[in-house]
């Protein structure tokens, strides 16, 4: 206002560019905040409902009148949640351990060995990874029925001893990025393939192994189709996802308890994520390789 000279056209141009940048900055961040509310909203409402009393959960009120922390203990009385948690943990931990044991060597061989049919083997891994599990469900189910293992979770755990296509794929994608010189150096020192893998490659592949282990754990923790197919008939062998799916129906429309149980299933996953956020993000990036 105090300046007497009118601003030069160039200065006016940069001012307008700066103004536009500023507007864009605000627009982008406002949009991001709006999206954050949409992404977090459902989790917030689930939590709020989980804390309401029975009657309020049936109304459209959003804020709990009373905070019923007891809901979280009540769900343990209403359903054998501890058994289901135990089963889910057994499934997730054993399947993940078996998967690592079997898939790491396979991925290493695919990434490093030169042999005939190497390309074909890799393409077969991708095919296995992509095909829907329902394609071979009937005969596979009959195999397990013959061994009298239907009704348990073992049909989902035992096959992990024979490698998991998705994990093999991801591990292979990571292992090919490790320069050959490292394993060559180990071989000059007289290490065999197995010792090279254990001593040299595994320590370097730790982030990928962690990511694959986490993915596998999460997959099992989330899995609904597998337990539904094999363990549906025996309540004692249910997992949390089976139990949660049936929870509401057993207890009619007790939305507060249902949401409390839902939170119980979500919470460990979220907590685990915050401890291993980097592992996760890096792992997801690996899945998107061009």
């Amino acid at each position: 206002m105090t300046t007497t000279t009118s601003p030069s056209p160039a200065a006016a141009a940069t001012a307008s560019v700066r103004w536009r940048r500023m507007l864009l900055w605000i627009a982008n961040h406002a949009l991001a905040i709006a999206l954050s509310i949409m992404f977090l909203g459902p989790l917030v409402f689930i939590t709020l409902t989980a804390l309401m009393d029975d009657n309020q959960a049936l109304t459209s009120q959003l804020w709990p009148k009373t905070w019923n922390w007891g809901n979280f203990t009540e769900i343990f009385e209403k359903a054998p949640l501890l058994t289901w948690i135990g089963n889910t943990l057994m499934y997730s931990v054993l399947a993940t351990a078996f998967m690592l044991l079997s898939s790491v060597p396979v991925a290493y061989a695919l990434a490093r060995f030169r042999f005939r049919g190497r390309k074909l083997a890799f393409l077969m891994v991708i095919t296995m990874m992509m095909l829907p599990p329902q394609v071979v469900s009937v005969p596979v189910y009959l195999i397990w029925a013959r061994f009298h293992l239907t009704g348990t979770l073992w049909p989902l755990i035992i096959p992990m001893l024979l490698g998991d296509a998705f994990s093999i794929f991801l591990l292979r994608q990571f292992l090919i990025t490790i320069p050959r010189e490292y394993s060559d150096a180990a071989k000059v020192d007289g290490c065999g393939e197995f010792r090279t893998l254990v001593r040299v490659i595994l320590p370097m592949a730790r982030p990928a192994i962690a990511a694959v282990a986490l993915f596998s754990f999460f997959y099992c923790w989330n899995d609904y189709y597998g337990p539904l197919l094999y363990a549906r008939t025996d309540l004692d062998n249910w997992t949390l996802s089976l139990g949660l799916a049936a929870f509401r129906s057993v207890h009619r429309v007790q939305w507060n308890l249902t949401m409390a149980a839902t939170l119980l299933v979500i919470a460990p996953v979220i907590i685990l994520f915050f401890f291993a956020q980097k592992v996760f993000i890096e792992g997801v990036k690996l899945t998107g390789v061009k």
């Binding site: 390309k119 991708i126 024979l162």
Partner: protein, 317 residues
């Protein structure tokens, strides 16, 4: 003189054979797994598709299962629903994921925080997420209706109205877009910055920059996301099953009273009907026909992916 290359070749072949054998040993767990849990079951599926089988009696029926499939209205309904997911849900999810990734790479402040927030829902276990959404969108009790009516808009009966149920599932799919977002973010950050600067100097608009620079660079990733999205849509099972069961208020998951696809078969997906036929009604021969159809269709999309990967595998070999 001629002996030298010969000897060399002989040694090479011997080593090649040894290498092959070693690879075979290392790969053997997976090869066994492939044979037992894929190859044999696939052949058995073909065999059972010509049988009437309920786990007790096996009776060859020729092409009867196939004929029944062509005349089964529920099967066609499920094909239409699964196709809807492929044509509507998958593209929306890819576009939304790309949009969110674009937005986040442009932010100057709070990138880490926003990324975490956007990614979080994709971690929520599917059953839990679906339950949550059925509750959220449930008219009468859910907050979505309360909020919408506060703004003066009515809310549809999402999971109770055949016209809206698949849109409800689509909302759930968009909510959990985080994994795609992370993949796209990584791809967008790979686009060389100088290209944008050069384009800006040439006076290219935002749309032109996206179309001319961003899109060509991220095309392989986009392609990968689209094809895997389609293959996932072909397997779409849990969300549809849970949403239908909870919204219909039907009995426990061990009971057989449940008719899938509520409301009015609008969420009945192909794998769901396959599961129902094979493991609820124990029409296993018929389920095998459906499994083969699923196999052929997913194989076609997998081949698209394999073509993309073939060059990749060669590069490394």
């Amino acid at each position: 003189m001629a002996a030298v290359p010969l000897a060399g070749r002989g040694r090479g072949a011997g080593r090649g054979r040894r290498d092959n054998l070693r690879a075979l040993i290392w790969l053997s767990p997976w090869i066994i797994g492939f044979a037992v849990f894929f190859l044999y079951p696939l052949l058995a599926t073909v065999y059972f598709s010509f049988q009437r089988y309920d786990m007790f009696t096996l009776e060859p029926v020729g092409l009867l299962n196939y004929r029944y499939f062509l005349e089964d209205p529920a099967a066609w309904r499920s094909i239409k629903n699964t196709l809807w997911l492929v044509v509507v849900m998958v593209p929306l999810r890819v576009l939304f994921g790309l949009g969110v990734a674009q937005l986040i790479t442009r932010l100057k402040a709070g990138v880490g925080l926003f990324r975490t927030i956007f990614y979080l829902p994709s971690l929520v276990p599917v059953v839990a997420g679906t339950l949550g959404f059925v509750y959220l969108l449930n008219p009468g009790t859910g907050p979505v209706q309360a909020i919408l009516s506060a703004v003066g808009i009515g809310s549809p009966d999402w999971f109770g109205d055949p016209a809206w149920s698949k849109w409800g599932l689509t909302m759930l799919a968009l909510w959990s877009v985080g994994d795609l977002m992370v993949i796209f973010m990584a791809a967008l950050l790979d686009v060389p910055k100088q290209l944008y600067e050069a384009a800006a100097i040439d006076g290219a608009g935002a749309w032109q920059r996206f179309y001319r620079i961003t899109l060509p660079v991220i095309r392989p990733v986009l392609m990968f996301a689209a094809v895997t999205g389609v293959i996932q849509a072909l397997q779409y099972f849990t969300q549809a099953m849970i949403a239908a069961r909870v919204a219909s208020g039907s009995t426990d998951s061990a009971g057989s009273v449940f008719t899938p696809g509520y409301p009015d078969q609008s969420t009945l997906t192909f794998p769901e009907w396959l599961y129902h036929q094979g493991f609820r009604d124990f029409a296993m021969g018929y389920a095998c026909v459906m499994a083969l159809v699923l196999f052929v269709v997913s194989m076609m999309f997998t081949l698209v992916l394999l073509r993309q990967f073939r060059g990749f595998a060669e590069e490394e070999a």
